[in-house]
Amino acid sequence: MTRPVQLYCWHFMSYPYLPADFDERYETGWVTVPNRLWDAERSRGLYQEYIDQLVYADEIGFDGMVLNEHHQNIYGLMPSPNLIAAALSQRTKRGKIVILGNLLPLHLNPLRMAEEYAMLDNMSDGRLIAGFAPGSGPETFNYDVPSAPSRGQFWEAVDLIHRAWTEDGPFAWEGRHYPLRYVNPWPRPTQQPHPPVWIPSSRSTETLVNIAKRGYCYFLSSRSHGSETAKSQAQFAKVLEEQGSRFDPFRMGILMSAHVGDTDAQAQDEAKEGVWYFLKNCLKGHLRREGRMLTAGPGIPYIPPSEFRNYLKFSDPNAPLLGDAEDWADLQRAQSIIVGGPDTVARRIIDIVEHAKCGHLLIQFHMGNMPDALVRKSMTLFAREVAPRLREHSARLFGRHFPEMERSAEMAQ
């Protein structure tokens, strides 16, 4: 049978103890959100709770766990996702550990990332999925990363790490940004020739070409999944074809959030507080018009002028963003945060997969300040009621659309 969608549990590890009037009193959740709001006493055990939720995902049959890197915000408390990955490597046995990803231009020397990822691949017995990201939004401010040269730095670092993993050392790297005389990392990764590499991107053609020609997986960094997601898939498929390669669902991943309850009404009732905490607080400074958005725009000039011209032509600065959603109907339109009983959630995700045709579904269950018991309940229902339907449906769907994938799988057996 054709390989079905791979289902991952994504944890952002948001800060859950903000005051109730945070949105009225503070202009952003990013970069300058005052860290005196951190409550050290209440936060005891917070990382443990979050790590335990990811371990639980592994136990109940998710295909992997997803982490990512953020700095100086309430949205994601993982300045170093590699630390959490190290903990997971010792407490889980089965699922992939996806880091999406290390923000390369923030680090003085990319070899450190090559080394840490190789350690994690060994520590997890070959379960690492290595993500790399340029981190060009808030990091411009919180790490003083210059935007304009950051893309060049990023791709040089990616290529350096790839070569460090795949070519015998020592060798010299004569790069523009990271000239190094001795590249010879110990350990080398468990997975050969190297762990799978995923790169998040919006729809920049230049980035898609760079991902495609290196054989990496494209992670669409969008939280909404309307027709744009299908367009991104088609665009990536076209780029792959132009390079004599071919799209298959496992070259692409997408992100969504879900909460599963016994019924639609119960799910909404349970998720309401966490979802709106996430939308109004965690997305303030990111995907909300209120306050100052720090994740794209003229003050983060990392894209070439021609791409910015397109951005100006095709973007509407007055259009509402995900965090501006006021009710469940708004959220349903955005096709991003899916809340409902098992039937509803399965149907809506199947709908997205039918349009997007991508094989890696990265799903956030913990939203904002959602209590542990609710997160686990939702994950349990998802694993028991939703996942089997998604697997069955997607296997048929992919078999129909990508028959050559099935043939190559048979040949491999």
Partner: protein, 278 residues
């Protein structure tokens, strides 16, 4: 437009007389405006004003990937050679002032007189340069109130509302602003942020007559930077403050800023030495 070693450099001129090279800032010609503004035109009554657009700004080509301030200094050396400018007056505003100061300490023999307006470039402890990148990110999708506050006397200054309205602007104007920020990101954001720590100690080499002019309410490059330039430049006498102006003094108080500069040019006309009034 001139071509310099295969690179296009957009360049506009106004007026007649001795050559005066004008290096622009953010809220300035090429940085946001397509053409000369009243300040530049008034300056053109006293000199032949030559205003190149920095690399990547307006119609100028970007330099090779990952360039920095040193590359821009060398770029201008090549531009001056291509234009046959051996000796000239040099005026710079904001980041253009930083470039002018870097040129003046390296090639003092080429710079007859130096004028800095709200120039960044120096490290002044306790007086950080404002974050133009953060404030260029609109609030509520389109609001540029805090950017206007950073660059102008008040957030409602007419020049500010003209060039930084709280609405998606004309496409070409938005592009000029973006290209200018991208240039700024290449040269002024390594870190450190818009300064070269060793420049202050090198100012002694720029012995030509110098004028240091500052918007009295400059919140982008605090007046303490003007004081530091006056203290470091042997040819500078005192800081000229333009009242009722912020960082964008040439846009906000065109006449007062141009007159201060024209007077400086007049009093230092004959020998390139300052003419004493006493």
């Amino acid at each position: 437009m001139v071509e310099v070693r295969g690179r296009k450099v957009a360049l506009i001129e106004s007026g007649q007389g001795e050559p005066l090279v004008y290096l622009h800032g953010f809220a300035d010609v090429h940085g946001v405006a397509a053409d000369f503004q009243p300040f530049h035109l008034r300056l053109g009554t006293a000199a032949r004003v030559i205003a190149p657009a920095h690399p990547g700004c307006a119609q100028s080509d970007e330099l090779a990937e990952g360039y920095g301030i040193e590359d821009v200094i060398f770029h201008y050396l090549e531009v001056f050679d291509a234009l046959g400018l051996t000796s000239f007056d040099l005026v710079g505003h904001c980041v253009g002032g930083w470039i002018a100061a870097e040129l003046a300490v390296r090639y003092p023999e080429r710079v007859r007189r130096l004028c800095l307006i709200g120039a960044c470039g120096l490290f002044v402890p306790g007086a950080p340069i404002g974050d133009i990148f953060l404030h260029s990110q609109p609030e509520r999708g389109v609001q540029l109130t805090s950017l206007r506050k950073l660059l102008f006397y008040t957030e409602n200054a007419p020049a500010g509302l003209r060039f930084y309205a709280s609405a998606r602007g004309d496409l070409e104007e938005e592009m000029r602003r973006y290209q200018m920020l991208r240039f700024g990101s290449f040269v002024g954001f390594k870190p450190p942020y818009f300064y070269n720590r060793v420049l202050r100690g090198r100012l002694y080499r720029a012995t030509m007559p110098a004028a240091v002019i500052w918007g009295a309410a400059d919140r982008m490059v605090p007046c303490a930077h003007g004081d530091a330039y006056v203290a470091g430049l042997p040819g500078a006498e005192d800081l000229t403050l333009i009242q009722g102006a912020g960082h964008a003094a040439p846009l906000e108080r065109a006449d007062a800023t141009a007159d201060a500069l024209i007077e400086f040019l007049a009093t230092t006309r004959d020998t390139g030495q300052r003419v004493s009034n006493g």
